[in-house]
Amino acid sequence: MKYLGAALIFFACLGAGTSRALEMRRRVRILRGLTAALEVMKSEICSRLSPLPQAVEAAASGAPAELAAFFASLRRGEADIGDRSFSDIWGAGCRETLPALGERELAALLGLGASLGRYAAEEQGQAFDACAAILGGALRTYETALSGGMRTAVGVWAALGAMTVITLF
């Protein structure tokens, strides 16, 4: 019984470490996907003057699975344009489907949403650039942390588990 309890504590800590590491990896994938998707949207809007639903569609077609729910919520929301502003639809999509993002990244996306479709292409281009700068900065930070941090995170949590077991028994 004693050994079973010790094993449970150790593996719980190991699991927590692994989960944190995977979450970090997922966040990086989301940020990479978002950065690429926003680049596509910017090209569609600023270079081709495509209507927003078309720009969203173009961005969605190459987006990773982590962003599927986000683009699905935008598509659903497009039917409500007229009763809701696109900025509301975009904001709701970000809040509901991208909880892995940090506050700063989320605020950058919401700021972009306030400009999308409302202004001339050039002004929207500037909003895309501002958002991309923040997302890009966050992405670099997470990537750096991820490159050395994944094993460390798992190791630290595993060590914490081992120490707890030793202390208790």
Binding site: I45, C46, L49, S50, P51, L52, P53, I81, G82, D83, S85, F86, L116, G117, R118, Y119, A120, A121, Q124
Partner: protein, 288 residues
Amino acid sequence: MDGLERAAALLPPDMRPAALSAADAEEFRLRSGRRPAYLSGDAETELDGCRAVTPEDLDGVLERATRASVHSAQSSLKNGFVTVAGGVRLGVCGSVILSDGAPAGIRRLSGAAVRIPRQVGGCCDGTFPALTDGGFKNTLIISRPGGGKTTYLRELIRRLSDSGARVGLADERGEVAAVWNGVPQFDVGRRTDVMSDAPKAASAEMLLRSMNPQILAMDEITAPGDVEAVFDSVGCGVKLLATAHAGSWNEFCSRRLYRAIVTGRIFKRVVIIEANGGARSYSVEEKP
């Protein structure tokens, strides 16, 4: 969805029921700080039970009209209007953005006019035989603003096109065919080719070069460039069909802009539309 419903759908949600109850509305008028109104004939009436329009309401109207894609409509917005699905036309006014001295867009909207599209089938039935007697000739349609020129022109184009003529339509403001996503929202006939959103002279030249029209139609000759388009086209072997603002032929002749057209005897037939209240009367005059 009919024209009234499409037009009402552009308004703020709380104003739509009142707008839908204005069955005889020809246009909805929204001015910042004022209650919304509708236009019927010459009379403007406030919509019942509506609050005053705010600048945010006007932004919302534009967002709905462009399907949240103001950038896609920028080329027509700089001329002060946007064509919407179903042929509804949204005119806007506000602070004009200038680029190299020319309008490049509008911001801080202060007012909007939502024009309700109507295709009045049969409005040229009475005059069609006179206009095609001995073959179609260069024809000018005149009336006062809001007299129904565009509606008449659209119907005449449809009749001419469906009776076998190849018609090229230079639809600078998108009011005649109201092309939206590449599809004319009004029936302009089976053999009509539409060039939209470019100045008439440029559209006419492109149509002549690429579509080989037999009749070249254009709405509202209002600027020196439009008169040039008339002269450029007339020597190319096509028949012209155009409209202009004037209450009568004499009034048309008295305007300096049109002097060259009159002295050049370009138009051989003139359709005069007179509005008496809601009813319109149409007459055809032959010119030497």
